[in-house]
């Protein structure tokens, strides 16, 4: 059974009096542990794709089965619970809460899940260790470099040990060298078993992935099927 299974997913937006098809009958299956890049020019629907995969958005038509469970019919609180436990997000602009320290930012998903503080502390330390920033636990985001901020964000994404990591242009705001480091960190996590789905328009990053989903005007073509 594939971990992610999209079946004829259609998502349309109403812009004034014209209807824009962001996704048009998209079907794809992704197995656990895969490393997938979603690529395409801006406006091609790749961000909509990621939002749907991350359960931040719902399709107008079609079915999305996550780990065998149809998630298109869930209530918003059920969706929140799935996001909390199964999905880790990494954003282009990091989205760290500026007034909280690194450790507190990383602990946010645990706090939302109601994990008691002492267990939280252990898991946060372990996650910070994993991204190599244990010595920055007490720093606030504005005291960290861009690469460090993204690594903190990754620590936050993996703290709940999710089934998949969804990364939206994770290196978009970083220079080439730090971008490389962040990519390697994400790939190391993937090598350890987490499904990694990256949205990028950087061809270099795209070609590192084991599988590419090319988006164009809401239609997807799969590198695996072409091969």
């Amino acid at each position: 059974m594939p971990q992610i299974e999209l079946e004829n997913i259609t998502r349309t937006f109403q812009l004034g009096d014209t209807t824009v098809r962001a996704l048009s009958s998209v079907s794809v299956a992704i197995n656990a542990g895969e490393y997938v890049a979603i690529m395409g020019p801006s406006g091609s629907g790749k961000s909509t794709m990621l939002n749907l995969l991350g359960l931040l958005d719902q399709p107008n038509n079609g079915h999305y089965r996550l780990e065998g469970r149809d998630v298109t019919t869930l209530t918003s609180d059920e969706l929140a619970a799935v996001r909390r436990t199964r999905i880790g997000f990494v954003f282009q602009s990091f989205h760290l809460i500026p007034r909280l320290t690194s450790a507190e930012n990383v602990a946010m998903p645990l706090m939302l899940a109601g994990v008691p503080p002492e267990i939280r502390r252990q898991r946060v330390n372990a996650a910070l260790e994993k991204v190599g920033l244990a010595n920055r636990a007490g720093h606030r985001p504005d005291e960290l470099s861009g690469g460090q901020r993204q690594r903190i964000a990754i620590a936050r994404a993996i703290i709940m040990e999710p089934a998949m990591l969804l990364a939206d242009e994770p290196t978009g705001n970083l220079d080439r060298h730090t971008g490389q480091e962040v990519t390697e960190l994400l790939e190391a996590l993937n090598a350890a078993g987490t499904t990694l789905i990256v949205v990028t328009h950087d061809p270099d990053m795209g070609f590192r992935a084991h599988r590419r989903l090319m988006m164009e005007d809401g239609v997807m073509s799969d590198s695996q099927e072409q091969a």
């Binding site: 609180d77 929140a80 996001r83 500026p98 939302l112």
Partner: protein, 400 residues
């Protein structure tokens, strides 16, 4: 999310934007302090005024010349009322249940001694006055119990006047001049403090006949009657009315006021005054509540991306609502506590400035103001919290 974590997160958020939070706390604390101080002031003034009346004794009947009738025009209103005389007072002494009577006549005059001159209040009365007013003496003795018609040249003086005219020297046995009369000081009153409309520590008490001579009049200001106890006031009043009617040619041209009637009239007025003050203060609390809503709405707009992030991290709508409600309530609570402190401080300052007025914040005002502050935080936090929870995560994450 556990309640403790929600509270911790809210506290962290408020300290994260100190200016915004402190302005909100300031607004709430001003409202709260206004309630505390204004109610304390209202209660204080009321207790002060009632205290003044109670110090006169609650079983007191006051006879004043003239008749104030509500209920229309009367022939009696046209004729000049007869004077209230010492003879009237003497007659009233024998009314059933009257324990003690004291004719009273007051006026202002120059008082001089040792080359020092003062303008002060002269009180003409008799020996019973000391008991009726619950005054006591620090030196010497009070007016002798003798024929009220006798205008003996003696005086009992208040402690302030004693200090001002004689300094540290004992005034007893000394001579003072009141108008053109030379009087011998026979006693000094103990300190009394505040009085209603005059300063009792500055008065000079002389025999009533002496006062009538000084002010060249035949009419008393009033006659004080003290009954044996509270229950007999009405009987005594009826008896006194009958005597006055007989003495004044069948016409009741005096007014008899009981202490209770005056007290309850004042009580009503002061109740209303306090309620008005509370109303004004409540408006400022309400304004503070609306300000909480306003600031929280701005906060939702400013933190759109953060709300989007929290949703992406798996916060439920209830979590988001709880976070914002807790923040609004937390700020209101801190504001209310600060306001409470300011209110108590303000009350203390008023007590220092006017020691006679017992300005103490009352428990009911403090608890209800706290409750109102908390509720306003909660009620006015609902709209912003709901708005935050209703945000679309995708749009919120992109900052829209």
């Amino acid at each position: 999310m556990t309640p403790a974590d929600t509270l911790g997160f809210a506290a962290r958020t408020t300290t994260g934007s100190p200016l915004r939070s402190s302005l909100l706390v300031l607004a709430m604390s001003i409202g709260m302090a206004a309630v505390v101080v204004l109610t304390a002031l209202g209660d204080g003034v009321r207790n002060y005024i009632i205290g003044q009346f109670v110090s006169l004794g609650t079983n007191l009947l006051i006879v004043t010349p003239g008749r104030n009738d509500t209920g229309g025009f009367q022939l009696g209103g046209l004729i000049t009322p007869r004077d209230l005389t010492i003879e009237d007072a003497a007659a009233l002494q024998h009314v059933a249940h009257v324990r003690c009577a004291a004719p009273v006549l007051t006026g202002y005059s120059e008082v001089a001694a040792n080359g020092r001159l003062r303008e002060t209040m002269i009180m003409g009365t008799t020996s019973g006055y000391l008991d009726i007013r619950h005054f006591s003496l620090s030196q010497g003795s009070f007016l002798p119990n003798e024929d009220w018609q006798r205008s003996r040249s003696v005086a009992v003086i208040g402690v302030t006047i004693a200090d001002e005219l004689f300094g540290k020297a004992s005034p007893v046995g000394q001579t003072i001049r009141v108008g053109d009369n030379r009087l011998r000081v026979i006693g000094v009153l103990s300190p009394i403090g505040q009085g209603l409309g005059f300063k009792p520590d500055e008065q000079v008490i002389v025999p009533v006949a002496t006062a009538l001579a000084i002010f060249n009049t035949n009419s008393l200001l009033q006659i004080l009657l003290e009954t044996t106890d509270r229950e007999t006031i009405e009987t005594a009043k009826a008896g006194a009315e009958q005597i006055m009617r007989t003495r004044h040619g069948g016409e009741l041209d005096v007014t008899l006021i009981t202490q209770d009637a005056v007290l309850s009239a004042f009580d009503d007025i002061l109740d209303t005054t306090t309620m008005v003050l509370v109303g004004i203060a409540a408006v400022s609390l309400m304004v503070a509540g609306i300000l909480v809503m306003n600031v929280m709405l701005v906060s939702v707009t400013q933190r759109t991306a953060e709300i989007g992030l929290l949703k992406a991290l798996g916060a439920s709508n209830r979590d988001i609502i709880n976070m914002f409600l807790t923040e609004a309530t937390f700020l209101s609570f801190i504001g209310a506590l600060t306001g409470l402190a300011i209110g108590y401080l303000g009350s203390w300052v008023i007590r220092m400035a006017w020691p006679a007025i017992p300005v103490y914040p009352s428990a009911w005002a403090v608890t209800s103001a706290l409750a109102v502050a908390l509720c306003s935080g909660l009620v006015f936090g609902v709209l912003p919290a709901r708005r935050a929870a209703a945000l679309d995560p995708v749009l919120a994450l992109s900052g829209h």
